[in-house]
C-alpha cells in the first residue's frame, strides 16, 4: 500500500502536550475525535441497554397477549398515584440534567452544581418512593396494611393478599372474576404479571443506582472545576445515560400501571 509518512497533527511529532488540554488521551489525534468516540460509545451502549430491556418487554408482550384479562385485573393492585408521582419526578430530573449539560457548555459552574444536585435529590426521591411501593407489597404479605404498620405492629390487612411472587403469592379473590379456588395460589398467571413487574422495575432501579453514582461523580468533578466550555463530554454522555433510564420508565409506567 503506497503510504506517505506525513505528520497529521503537529503535537505528536514532539509529543509535547501544549496544543491541547490534559484530558486528551494519547491515542486520539484531536479533542473532537475523542469527543466523537465517547459520544458514539455511549449511544452504542444505550443500544445494548435497549436490547436488554427488550427481552423483558418481549416476555411482557407474550404474556399480556396470552392473558389479557389477568393483566387488566392485576394492574389494579399497583399503587398508581405513587407511580404517577414517580413519573413526574423522573421527567423533571431529565429536565434538570438537560439544563446541567447546557450550564456546563456555557461554563457556569455554580449552576451546573445546583442542577446536578437537584438531579441527585430527584433520583433519590424516585428510589425512595419505589422502595415504599415495594415495601407495601411485602407488608401485605406479612398481613399488615402499610409498611409503617408492619414496622410498628399496627393495623392488619383485612383480606389475604400477597403480590410478591413466590410460594405465598395470593391474589385477592373478589377482584378475580376468575374462579374462586384459584384465587390464592401462585399457579395462576397473576403471578407472572407481578414477577415481570418486580423484575422490570427492579432492573430499572439498579440502573437508577448506577445513574446516581455517575451523577455523584460528575458533581464531584464539577465541584473540582474539572469541566470547561471546551471539555464537558462526561456531563454530556452521563446525561445521555440518565435520559435512557427515564425513557425506560416512561414505557414501564403505562405498561404496568395503566393497563385495562
Amino acid at each position: 500500500m503506497a503510504t506517505t509518512t506525513q505528520t497529521t497533527s503537529a503535537h505528536h511529532g514532539d509529543h509535547g502536550h501544549a496544543a491541547h488540554g490534559p484530558e486528551l488521551q494519547h491515542h486520539f489525534e484531536t479533542p473532537a475525535q475523542q469527543k466523537e468516540a465517547a459520544t458514539l460509545g455511549m449511544w452504542a451502549f444505550l443500544v445494548t441497554e435497549v436490547m436488554l430491556f427488550g427481552g423483558i418487554f418481549l416476555a411482557y408482550a407474550v404474556y399480556r397477549w396470552a392473558f389479557p384479562d389477568v393483566w387488566a385485573e392485576a394492574a389494579h393492585h399497583l399503587n398508581t398515584p405513587l407511580g404517577t408521582v414517580n413519573t413526574v419526578v423522573l421527567l423533571v430530573s431529565s429536565l434538570t440534567v438537560a439544563l446541567a449539560v447546557n450550564a456546563a457548555e456555557h461554563g457556569r459552574r455554580t449552576r451546573l452544581l445546583q442542577l446536578l444536585g437537584v438531579t441527585l435529590v430527584l433520583g433519590v426521591a424516585f428510589l425512595g418512593i419505589k422502595a415504599f411501593e415495594y415495601s407495601e407489597k411485602f407488608a401485605h404479605c406479612a398481613g399488615y396494611k402499610t409498611p409503617i404498620a408492619w414496622a410498628t405492629g399496627g393495623e392488619l390487612l383485612g383480606e389475604q393478599e400477597c403480590l410478591v411472587p413466590g410460594r405465598a403469592f395470593a391474589f385477592p379473590a373478589e377482584h378475580g372474576a376468575a374462579t374462586e379456588e384459584h384465587a390464592s395460589t401462585n399457579k395462576t398467571p397473576h403471578q407472572l404479571f407481578y414477577l415481570l413487574y418486580f423484575i422490570a422495575t427492579g432492573l430499572h432501579a439498579v440502573h437508577m443506582l448506577i445513574g446516581l453514582t455517575i451523577v455523584s461523580i460528575l458533581t464531584f468533578l464539577a465541584w473540582r472545576g474539572f469541566f470547561t466550555p471546551t471539555y464537558f463530554t462526561p456531563v454530556e454522555i452521563g446525561g445521555l445515560y440518565w435520559h435512557l433510564i427515564d425513557v425506560v420508565w416512561v414505557f414501564l409506567f403505562p405498561l404496568f400501571y395503566l393497563v385495562h
Binding site: T48, M51, Y63
Partner: protein, 552 residues
C-alpha cells in the same frame, strides 16, 4: 516502500526492574497488543480444556455400551465441552485475539478507542471463565450448552446457576469488545482510510461487532430470567406456573443463531486477507464481500426459528424461518465465489496460512450446504437432534472458525512475535488437521442420517464402526492441534527474525516493525490507495524467487 515505523520500542519489550512490576506491566496494560496476548494465552487455555472434555466424550463413544462414564457424567462431559467451546473459545477467539491486535494497526490508529474498557473485557472474560470452571469443579452441569427450560430451571440438579453466571459475565466481555470495535472503526481511521479502503477483516469485525452489541444483551436478560426462576421457583418459563418454556427457546436462539455468525464472520474476514495475500491479487468483488458481511449480520437476526422446527412452533412460522434461512446462504455463497474468483489466475503460494484458507473454503462449503439441508423443514424433522446436526455445526465451527483462526494466527504470528515459525511443520500440521477433521466429522453426517441421536452415550451395535472411525479421527485431529503449540513456542526462541513484511502483504500492519512499537505509529500514516493493491510485479517476483522445494 515507505515505512512508518521509526525505531520505537517493541510492545513486548520491558524495562521493568522486578518480576512483580513486570507482572503488573502486563496485567494492568492498556495496550491493545498486550491485551491480545493475554487473550491469546487464556483463550487457548480454555480451548485445551474444552478439547479435554471432547476427548472424554469421544473415548466413551468408542464402544456401544456406556462403560467409561455413567449417563449422568456423560451429560456433564458434553455440556462442559459445549459451554467452554462456544462461550469461552469460539465466540471471543478471533475478535479478542486477532481483532484486538489488528483493528487499530489495520486502520492506522494508536489503540482502540477505549483502552481501559478493553482491559476490563479481559478481566470479565477471566471472571466468567472462573465461574464456569468452578461449576465444573463442583460437579458440573448437565443441561447441554443450550440450557433448555424447564429442565434447566426446575429439574436439573447440577450447577446451572454458576454456569449461567459465567456465560452472563462473559457476555459483557463480548459487548465491551464489540462496542470498542464499532467506535474505533467509526472514529479512528487514519486520514485517507475511507470505508472502501478498509481491509475486509475490518468490515467483518465491524459486522460482527454489530451482532455482538445487538444480540448479547438479549441472552444476558434471558439467562437472568432463568436464574431468577431457578433460584426462587417463580416461573417465567415454567408451564406449571403459567409460563411458557418455548419462550426461553425463542429468546435463547434470538441470540444464539446470530452468535454462530459472531463465530464465523471474523473468520471470513481472516480468509479474505489470506486469499488476497497469497494469490497476490486484488480481492475479487471487494464491495460484495464487504456488504455480504453486513447482509449476514442483518439476516442472521431473522432465522432463529430454524432451531425450533420441532418445538411446537407454528407450521407457518416454520416455513417463513425456513425461507429466510435459505436467504442467508446467498451472502455466504457470494463470499465463497469471490474467493475462488480471486484465486483464478492468481500467483498462488501454498504457505501454511494459505493451506488453512483453502481448507476453510472446502469445509465451510460442506458445513454451509448441510445447513441448507437442515433449513428445509422436512429434512430437519428427520435429522434434528441427530449427529447430522452435530456434524453440520462442527464443519462450520471447527472447519470454519478454527481453521480461520489458525490460518490467521500463522499469518500474523511474525507480526505479533517478530519471529517466523517453521514452515515445514506448519504445512504438515495444517494437513494433519484437515485429514483428522474430516475423519472425525464426516462419519457423523452418515451416523446422523442413519438415526444416531445426539447426546446419547449408549448406541446400537451397528453404529460402532462409524463411531470408532470418528474417535480415531479425533486422535489425529488432536495431534494436529498439539504440534503447532510446540513449533510456535519453539519459534519464539529459535525462529528466524521476521522483518516488517515477510509475506509482502499490503495493509498498514505490515508497515510497522515486527513486533510493532507500543504506540503503533510514530506518525499516523496517510492512506492513498485501496486495500490489496498488489503491484503487478509482485507475482513476477514470486515466480523468480521460486526454487524447487521452496514452499512458495
Amino acid at each position: 516502500m515507505a515505512t512508518t515505523a521509526l525505531p520505537g520500542r517493541g510492545y513486548l519489550e520491558d524495562d521493568t526492574p522486578t518480576v512483580w512490576s513486570w507482572v503488573k506491566a502486563w496485567l494492568l496494560t492498556v495496550d491493545h497488543k498486550r491485551i491480545a496476548i493475554l487473550y491469546l494465552l487464556s483463550i487457548n487455555f480454555f480451548f485445551l480444556l474444552g478439547g479435554l472434555a471432547a476427548t472424554v466424550v469421544r473415548i466413551e463413544l468408542v464402544t456401544p455400551q456406556g462403560d467409561l462414564l455413567s449417563s449422568d457424567l456423560y451429560n456433564r462431559a458434553f455440556t462442559l465441552h459445549g459451554i467452554i467451546m462456544v462461550f469461552f473459545f469460539l465466540i471471543p477467539v478471533i475478535p479478542a485475539v486477532l481483532g484486538n491486535f489488528l483493528v487499530p494497526l489495520m486502520i492506522g490508529a494508536r489503540d482502540l478507542a477505549f483502552p481501559r474498557l478493553n482491559l476490563l473485557s479481559w478481566y470479565l472474560y477471566m471472571a466468567g471463565g472462573i465461574f464456569a470452571l468452578s461449576a465444573a469443579v463442583f460437579g458440573g452441569v448437565d443441561t447441554g450448552w443450550t440450557f433448555y427450560t424447564p429442565f434447566s430451571s426446575t429439574y436439573a440438579n447440577s450447577n446451572v446457576i454458576l454456569t449461567i453466571a459465567g456465560a452472563f459475565i462473559m457476555g459483557f466481555s463480548s459487548i465491551a469488545t464489540g462496542l470498542n470495535f464499532i467506535v474505533t472503526i467509526h472514529t479512528m481511521r487514519a486520514p485517507g482510510m475511507t470505508w472502501f479502503r478498509l481491509p475486509l477483516f475490518i468490515w467483518a469485525s465491524y459486522a460482527t461487532s454489530l451482532i455482538i452489541v445487538l444480540a448479547t444483551p438479549v441472552v444476558g436478560i434471558t439467562l437472568l430470567l432463568l436464574a431468577i426462576e431457578r433460584l426462587w421457583g417463580v416461573g417465567i418459563f415454567d408451564p406449571a406456573l403459567g409460563g411458557d418454556p418455548v419462550l426461553f427457546q425463542h429468546l435463547f436462539w434470538f441470540y444464539s443463531h446470530p452468535a454462530v455468525y459472531i463465530m464465523i464472520l471474523p473468520g471470513f474476514g481472516v480468509i479474505s486477507e489470506l486469499i488476497a495475500t497469497f494469490s497476490r491479487r486484488r480481492i475479487f468483488g471487494y464491495e460484495f464481500i464487504a456488504f455480504s458481511s453486513m447482509a449476514i449480520a442483518l439476516l442472521g437476526f431473522l432465522v432463529w426459528g430454524h432451531h425450533m422446527f420441532v418445538s411446537s412452533q407454528s407450521v407457518y412460522a416454520g416455513l417463513v424461518f425456513s425461507f429466510i434461512t435459505m436467504l442467508v446462504a446467498i451472502p455466504s455463497a457470494i463470499k465463497v465465489f469471490n474467493w475462488t474468483a480471486t484465486l483464478y489466475k492468481g500467483s498462488i503460494s501454498y504457505r501454511t496460512p494459505m493451506l488453512y484458507a483453502l481448507g476453510f473454503i472446502g469445509l465451510f462449503v460442506i458445513g454451509g450446504l448441510t445447513g441448507i439441508f437442515l433449513g428445509v423443514v422436512a429434512i430437519d424433522i428427520h435429522v434434528t437432534d441427530t449427529y447430522f446436526v452435530v456434524a453440520h455445526f462442527h464443519y462450520v465451527m471447527v472447519g470454519g472458525t478454527i481453521m480461520a483462526y489458525l490460518g490467521g494466527l500463522h499469518f500474523w504470528w511474525p507480526k505479533m512475535t517478530g519471529r517466523m515459525y517453521n514452515e515445514v511443520w506448519g504445512g504438515i500440521s495444517a494437513l494433519v488437521i484437515f485429514v483428522g477433521f474430516n475423519m472425525t466429522f464426516f462419519p457423523q453426517f452418515v451416523l446422523g442420517y442413519l438415526g444416531m441421536p445426539r447426546r446419547y452415550h449408549v448406541y446400537p451395535q451397528e453404529f460402532q464402526v462409524l463411531h470408532v472411525l470418528s474417535s480415531s479421527g479425533a486422535t489425529v485431529l488432536a495431534i494436529g492441534f498439539i504440534v503447532p503449540i510446540i513449533y510456535l513456542m519453539f519459534s519464539l526462541w529459535k525462529g528466524k527474525p521476521a522483518g516488517n513484511n515477510p509475506w509482502e502483504a499490503t495493509g498498514l500492519e505490515w508497515q510497522v516493525s515486527s513486533p510493532p512499537p507500543t504506540h503503533n505509529f510514530t506518525r499516523i500514516p496517510v492512506v492513498t490507495s485501496e486495500a490489496y493493491a498488489f503491484p503487478p510485479e509482485a507475482a513476477e517476483r514470486d515466480a523468480a524467487s521460486w526454487r524447487p522445494g521452496s514452499p512458495l
